[in-house]
Symmetry: C2
Subunit: 426 residues, 2 copies
């Protein structure tokens, strides 16, 4: 299984088919190397739009493409679906759930997962939003809540709890989810029910810190909060969650009854980082050298959300798609250099800015010190995302789907599927 | 929970939101009655295109619409998501998994499910194709088989078994699946793999009878078989399956190694029919009166795949969508008549013909004695299905999705999702 594709060319293994891994593979394909991309899924996920799947505006297939078809034209790249469980640094091997692969050069790009800060028992009540399965689970819970409420008598406390939605975490994911759930309540479901009025649903965003979108300047945080409140979302800052049950959320002694709770708070680096045997930061990220390699292993690079790359005198680079993409391209360039017997170069991050959507027509953003907000920011967000989405495959249809969904307020993927459906409605 | 929506108008309960139930609800909505539609899913499924979801040409959301939004504009219709477990005929109540509903008039339209003819242990190895979950399970198995094969050494028997696909049942579902799987092997996956050649996959269609598409005249069956064989499907008639294991299929003493087996053979009426306390046929279908009511219960109607309606001197009506639609409209008309104090009328089926697709560009069909085959038949199939699909909701996008998928040979929904994925690839 560990046979190289052909000849004596160096073998580069890339673990992870996210933004970092894919861009690394595409850049490296031009070099005289054989490449193996390993991912536990068969698809690349366009994660920035995952909340649109959770809220039924897009289908899973709209934001995910098979890694094989993206890389099909590069004949020196092979793709393996399998889960890397550890790295054997001495033996230069990536160990999978089944079998292993020898590498001459390695890029680790397995990203980050959600964390409940030691309260894993909360996961069953408050799913996070990291995978397609998570998104479909959240979708199921959202729409099942309304189905359950419709069957309960008016004025019952249980019914009110089914019509209350709590989103934990005031970062971009939490803000986007809150805005979209509010839109479902106000627009999508209007008129669909006979016994309940979805427009009266409560949507509450809890943030432990003193402002939402803490990565943004104060005034954009404020603007974001006002936009969110205008759509009907209740924003509660300084609210640290202390417990979550099937019936709702505790903030200290205060109990918020809610049958649907979504977790958008913690992020923890992929556990594969630990097996590299090098220093990690407190979020579990690998502290990389300026050229993105790791200490004492010039042939191993770590990129994307798993890497802590800190420019001198600055904060660590943000865990967002543009960082991962730039790192992927740079790690590929450095491996190309090593193969050619040249020295590696330092990674320099080009900050192109950040944008966060806040419900329909609104967003906030900042690029090179220039702040944008409102409809203009939202249009920028839309075009940037469509541009990158189309970069991977011909996905003009997503745009059409989106345009249709936008104009009609309908959400065409409003299906409740999956096995936990019954448990939830029972 | 069992309170009627308003006033003293008669309450009609419709169990099942398939073609029959939906058309019944829409027709009845014009009458002075209150209507409750009960379905265990929140969506209506356009079942004739389910095989396109299983073979990744369409997303689940493309062929399913929330029952509530289809019926939204009818203010005297409410929709309840819940599973009807039995009918209490004396108490005039439909019993759900949770709660119950009183009815003055009842339409039972819960359709049919798959059956393994007493071999339920085969289900784990050979999933059927009746629900969205089934379709996603089959999709997962299809694409995981190629992923597993890519990781196994050339020439191993296990690898060959991963590259062999057996479809059991030569009816329309089996024929459509076989054609689509052959197309995935020959076109969609071409060039995606490095160690295997998907175009060399074996696709075998097993039919116990002496010809495929037995509902069609002999010459159309023959034509269908030839079309299928031209695409590369191996058709084996007179092959009754005697056992199925994780490793393959037995036809008597003959063993066919295949890791992916799909069941398209048996159909059994919904078990709800048994609880009506009236005679059933050997397929479990309720033998209905000429006006679609059931013996000794003028206020209870059974329609669609659950009904055995046999015109004098003829075969029972076929279990296809047009039959269910016509029956739904007629049952609604008869309930309207009863409410108005008028007599019911006999149901007369209008045979508009049948069509079955056979892979790309090919189909066979018959309408009013006229036979069509090949590309013309396929175009007819396409337009009829798009016409009906659009009837439910504005689904012009499905057509675009389809056109794109047709022209590019790509299948945009080629994701492997769900929990059984790991078990399958391990």
């Amino acid at each position: 299984m560990a046979t190289p594709i052909k000849g004596p060319r160096p073998h580069v293994v890339i673990v992870g088919g996210g933004f970092g891994g894919l861009y690394a593979a595409q850049s490296l394909a031009r070099h005289p190397v054989d490449i193996t991309v390993i991912d536990k899924e068969n698809y690349h996920l366009f994660q920035p739009l995952l909340y649109q799947v959770a809220t039924a505006a897009l289908s899973a297939g709209d934001i995910a493409s098979p890694i094989r078809s993206i890389l099909r034209r590069h004949k020196n790249v092979r793709v393996i679906m399998g889960e890397a469980t550890s790295i054997d640094m001495d033996g230069k091997r990536v160990i999978l759930d089944e079998g292993d692969f020898h590498f001459d050069y390695l890029i680790v790009a397995t990203g980050a997962t959600g964390t409940y800060f030691g309260h894993d028992e909360w996961a069953q009540f408050a799913p996070g939003l990291k995978t397609i399965e998570d998104a479909l689970d959240i979708r199921r819970r959202l729409f099942c809540a309304y189905e359950s409420a419709e069957r309960l008598p008016t004025g019952s406390k249980e019914r009110d709890a089914y019509l209350s939605f709590v989103i934990i975490g005031g970062g971009p994911t939490g803000v986007e989810m809150a805005g979209a759930i509010r839109e479902i309540a106000s627009q999508t479901l209007k008129g669909d029910f006979r016994s309940i009025d979805p427009t009266g649903s409560k949507v509450i965003l809890l943030q432990s810190g003193d402002r939402i979108l803490p990565e943004y300047p104060d005034d954009l945080s404020d603007a974001g909060r006002k936009m969110l409140e205008r759509t009907g979302v209740e924003v509660r800052t300084g609210n640290r969650v202390t417990n979550i049950t099937a019936e709702g959320v505790y903030v200290g002694d205060h109990f918020i009854p809610a049958k649907t709770v979504i977790w958008g708070a913690g992020v923890l680096a992929s556990p594969l980082g630990k097996t590299l045997g090098v220093p990690l930061d407190k979020g579990g990220r690998v502290i990389v050298n300026p050229d993105l390699s790791i200490p004492e292993h010039q042939n191993v690079f770590v990129i994307g959300d798993l890497a802590n790359s800190t420019p001198p005198g600055k904060d660590p680079l943000p865990g967002i798609a543009p960082t991962a993409i730039q790192m992927g391209v740079h790690a590929a360039r450095n491996i190309g250099a090593l193969v050619a017997g040249e020295p590696t170069t330092e990674f320099i991050y080009h900050d192109r800015g950040q944008l966060a959507t806040i419900g329909r027509n609104s967003a906030v953003g900042i690029a090179k010190g220039v702040k944008v907000k409102g409809f203009i920011a939202w249009l920028m967000w839309l075009f940037i995302h469509i541009y990158f989405l189309i970069g991977f495959e011909n996905r003009a249809l997503v745009l059409l789907n989106w345009a249709y969904s936008y104009m009609s307020f309908s959400r065409s993927s409003r299906l409740i599927t999956g096995s936990s459906r019954k448990a939830k409605t029972a």
